[in-house]
């Protein structure tokens, strides 16, 4: 390990001036990779003695079928593996350790009990092909979670099948497509507001729909008049996030739903921002026909560095026959999976959902209860409004409308001192704060989308507001320092353009 130690020490403690002259072709190695710490003959796994006189697996299959080696594969001891990944972990920000107001992502506390519950052998070791009568607890958990999510959203039926929010979107859109076809009136278009997440139009394309963009008005929301203008007999649905990505509750949503339904179109409500709505307004009451949820957002399953999540889909009764297979059903003999669903859109993955995440979400719902969930949304809205008030003197809100669980801010620093939103975000890292979502929504120049969530103490919100104030002053007094931020992390500003210009997507041994 001595060599690796030296390399890391050099990287972390390197002098800016000297290192800046390093040739681009030969950057200093920051952290060694597992492949670089390997030595021939080492391994992190031992095996019990072989049974005597039995042929080796490679002999059974024969040389024709077998490879000789896995070239380049790592060779490390167990302690080396542990040290490597523990050190990597120290280079990460995480919600449990840092304020992480990443807008639209709902980085709330993930109760540690929920991970423990999901790891119970009765859940974790349960094989998906286990006969139903030996898995009644798991099936009942799914049924109870479906019912709870239906109650929270005001929908009639919920499928836990999709693996992530975007897969839930695709599921919902394929349901809309199937419903129109069943009525022998296929439609080709879906209306999406200009404030939408990028997954919405991408999902539409996958589902075979043409995207029609609806313009939000100057105040930042969607008008029923705009939807009526775009509606035709070829519009299958409107796909809208509520509250929208500006953190505004769409005030005309009920009227929009009526307009859609009058023309035979459906209201697809993207539940990415459900954390603002629990006990406040049910998508079902807004007139939604389809809603997808992101369990890793509102229902606190860990984000995992980018998943796994889960993207349940709720529908009104008329769409229930189209939900993915299988469905959880109760019969006299107990719970079972039902695959006999002739109108179903089919399946979008193997087996029956990201069950490990479902356990966590159910545990979360049990912990809060109906009243606690309603309180969670109210406190999330409180925190967001509080930060809005604190930030507004320097970072105006992108809208004058009331704020729900997140708020989009902007600034004049680009004009005043050439400091960009990216510079602000990078400087926040020096304060031990993960930046908000930046440059989104696209309709706001230099946007910073701040979602504090309900689980952050007021002290964390105040520290963020103070850091933002300090950064504002720094931007005016020493803008250069912001251009080169962060300064207190193991790495300085990462050159993302270089990565895209010269894609290196895997480690390879050095030649010669």
């Amino acid at each position: 390990m001595a060599g690796a130690e030296k390399i890391r020490a050099r990287a972390v403690g390197s002098q800016p001036q000297a290192a800046a002259k390093a040739q681009p072709a030969e950057p200093l190695p920051g952290v060694p990779l597992i492949f670089e710490e390997s030595a021939a003959g080492r391994g992190g796994a031992d095996f019990p003695p072989r049974a005597a006189g039995q042929p080796h697996g490679a002999e059974i299959l024969g040389a024709e079928l077998c490879r000789d080696d896995i070239a380049g594969f790592p060779e490390l001891s167990e302690p080396q593996v542990m040290r490597h990944f523990l050190r990597l972990s120290q280079l990460n920000f995480g919600q449990a350790l840092h304020f992480y107001p990443l807008g639209s992502c709902t980085m709330k506390y993930n109760p540690v009990l929920n991970d423990e519950a999901a790891a119970l052998a009765g859940f974790a070791a349960l094989h998906p092909t286990t006969p139903a009568h030996l898995a009644q607890g798991a099936l009942e958990l799914m049924a109870r979670l479906e019912a709870a999510l239906a109650e929270i959203t005001g929908m009639d039926a919920v499928s836990l099948h999709p693996a992530a929010g975007a897969q839930g979107e695709l599921t919902g859109l394929l349901i809309a497509r199937a419903w129109h076809r069943k009525r022998a009136a296929p439609r080709r278009k879906v209306i999406i507001p200009d404030t939408a997440h990028g997954t919405n139009p991408a999902s539409c394309t996958l589902a075979g729909f043409e995207v029609v963009v609806a313009r939000s008005n100057k105040r930042g929301f969607l008008e029923a008049a705009e939807i009526r203008r775009l509606l035709s007999d070829d519009v299958a649905a409107l796909m809208v996030t509520n509250p929208n990505t500006l953190g505004i509750f769409e005030p005309e949503i009920a009227e929009i739903a009526d307009a859609l339904h009058e023309r035979g179109a459906l209201l697809y409500l993207d539940g990415a921002n459900m954390n603002a709505l629990m006990g406040v307004a049910k998508p079902g009451a807004m007139g939604a026909d389809i809603v997808q949820l992101n369990l890793h957002k509102t229902f606190s399953t860990p984000h995992g560095g980018g998943g796994p999540g889960a993207g349940p889909v709720g529908v009104k009764r008329h769409l229930e026959p189209f939900l993915p297979i299988p469905r959880v059903r109760r019969e006299s003999g107990g719970w079972r999976f039902d695959y006999e669903r002739p109108d179903s859109i089919g399946r979008l993955r193997a087996f029956h959902g990201n069950f490990g995440m479902l356990v966590r979400a159910y545990a979360y719902i049990l912990a809060l209860g109906g009243d606690g969930l309603a309180e969670a949304s109210r406190l999330a809205i409180l925190a967001s409004n509080y930060l809005r008030t604190r930030l507004e003197p320097r970072y105006p809100s992108a809208t004058a409308e009331p704020t729900m669980h997140e708020c989009v801010h902007t600034h004049d620093l680009e004009k005043r001192s050439g400091v960009s939103t990216l510079d602000i975000a990078k400087r926040l890292l020096d304060f031990g704060i993960h930046p908000p979502t930046i440059y989104f929504p696209l309709v706001v120049h230099g946007a910073m989308m701040v979602e504090p969530t309900e689980t952050e103490p007021r002290s964390a919100l105040d520290a963020f507001a103070a850091a933002m104030e300090k950064i504002y002053n720094e931007a005016l007094s020493e803008p250069e320092m912001l251009h080169t931020a962060p300064h207190k992390l193991a790495l300085s500003r990462v050159d993302e353009a270089h990565a895209a210009r010269h894609p290196v997507l895997r480690w390879q041994p050095k030649r010669g």
Binding site: A71, E78, G137, A163, L174, A202, R349, T455, A500
Partner: protein, 454 residues
């Protein structure tokens, strides 16, 4: 509520700062009718001890999870998970971070994914791999869509019927909106269990987009991937290999070596518990020429301002948040933490360990078959198999029930999924999956239980 930090004083002070009198005032703009119907009719919240007890009671009602000798596989596998995997994936720095949009604060996740991408290229023998897919079935569907992007005028997908039914169904769903695409299912040889090369040959004209082949296939059979890929290539079509038991790639020739252009699969075997079906982790690898057609996240090497090596998400112009309706996929959240589990697992197993474990799975599965053969139960197919095989039994549901009474989950009945597996005399087919979690003494018990009805 224990997850909330605000005291009554905090709430009042925050409301004062905002200039509001109450929490309800903050949501007064939401239409009153909606607010009135918003109450959530669920039980009150629970203490942590109550939640733990409730979940514990549900877990206890899954007796199939423990206590049986299990031979269940069919796309998810029972393998030992080293403690190091759990210790690393439980780290809050990994578990409670999100998609690494800010590379300076995410080098841990990024470096691990870069390692994952590298490991997948080494296993598959291909040049680029992405940061993960949801699961093997979705990865297979995305591979077909990716193939379509490289050759939009080709409209025929030849899909082996020896792929898992869930995978075939997923591919069909993902292609359901692509109305010009025709899916041809390639039959398998009734004796050997391998995909019928003549049927692929028949489908291989200028319309053929790709051939999708299991490796090993859903019967555990090691397909002659090289021969099938060559048939596809003769028609200038792509060969896609699909692997649900990735441990096999530790011993078998790599898909890339055999001619696969895209290799996808399920990585659950690498350090992830079955969890009643998910989350696992999908993987996808391809040739360098297809790099810009890949779906999902990619991590690339770069440098920081001071010249230090660094990693970041890259080639984002393929992705939904930039390209919107013209993106290569709609993927946002993927299965990053599961990819981390697989990375730690493969680092622990290493170059020799993975091969050794794969070999032992082969050995155990063949010893299990030998034990069945002793009592006259034969393998249905003659082709070589990895760690699962199809046993010919008289009546698969009766055999499963007998085995269950003997404390054995004997496998998965396949005749319901493939009617063609039913012989004229009504005999059934049982997929028996064997891993290092099985022991020699279970094989005799399995044989006796399956034989019991004769």
């Amino acid at each position: 509520m224990r997850f909330f930090a605000h005291t009554e004083d905090d709430v009042r002070a925050m409301l004062d700062t905002i200039g509001a009198r109450s929490l309800e005032e903050l949501i007064e703009h939401v239409p009153a009718a909606m607010r009135r119907s918003a109450a959530i009719n669920l039980a009150s919240g629970m203490s942590e001890a109550e939640v733990a007890a409730t979940l514990g009671a549900l877990a206890a009602r899954n007796p199939g999870a423990e206590g049986f000798a299990s031979f269940l596989g069919f796309g998810m596998y029972r393998h030992y998970v080293p403690a190091a995997v759990r210790a690393i994936t439980a780290r809050a720095e990994f578990a409670t971070s999100y998609t690494p949009y800010q590379p300076e604060a995410s080098q841990g996740t990024l470096a691990a994914i870069f390692e994952f991408q590298t490991l997948i290229t080494q296993l598959t023998g291909l040049e680029v791999a992405n940061a993960s897919m949801y699961d093997g079935a979705e990865a297979a569907a995305e591979a077909v869509l990716m193939a379509h992007r490289t050759a939009p005028k080709r409209t025929r997908v030849a899909m082996s019927r020896a792929l898992w039914p869930d995978y075939r169904a997923t591919i069909r769903t993902y292609l359901s909106a692509f109305e010009d695409i025709e899916i041809v299912e390639l039959p398998f040889d009734a004796n050997s269990g391998v995909t019928d090369a003549a049927a692929l040959q028949h489908a291989a004209d200028a319309r053929l987009l790709c051939a999708v082949i299991g490796y090993p296939n859903a019967f555990g059979v090691v397909e002659p991937l090289g021969r099938l890929a060559a048939v596809a290539h003769d028609a200038d079509a792509l060969a896609i290999s699909v692997t649900a038991e990735p441990l096999a790639l530790g011993l078998l020739k790599s898909p890339g070596q055999l001619g696969a252009d895209i290799a996808v699969g399920e990585g659950q075997s690498f350090g992830i518990a079955p969890q009643f079906g998910g989350p696992g982790v999908g993987f996808m690898a391809a040739r360098a020429a297809h790099m810009r057609q890949m779906p999902g996240r990619l991590v690339g090497e770069t440098r920081d301002r001071l010249g230090q090596r660094a990693w970041c998400l890259t080639l984002a112009t393929r992705e939904q948040h930039i390209r919107r309706e013209r993106a290569t996929s709609n993927i946002c959240t993927n299965h990053s933490l599961c990819a981390l589990a697989a990375t730690v697992y493969l680092a622990i197993m290493g170059r020799r360990g993975l091969r050794e474990l794969a070999a032992r799975n082969v050995e155990l599965a063949h010893r299990a078959l030998a034990a069945l053969a002793k009592v006259g139960i034969r393998a249905r197919f003659s082709a070589p198999f990895f760690n699962e095989f199809v046993a010919a039994v008289d009546d698969s549901s009766a055999a499963l029930a007998r085995a269950e009474r003997a404390g054995i989950l004997a496998g998965v009945a396949l005749d319901g999924y493939w009617p063609e597996l039913r012989t004229p005399d009504g005999a059934g087919a049982l997929l028996v999956s064997v891993t290092e979690m099985n022991h020699d003494d279970e094989f005799g018990r399995l044989a006796a239980a399956l034989l019991g009805g004769r």
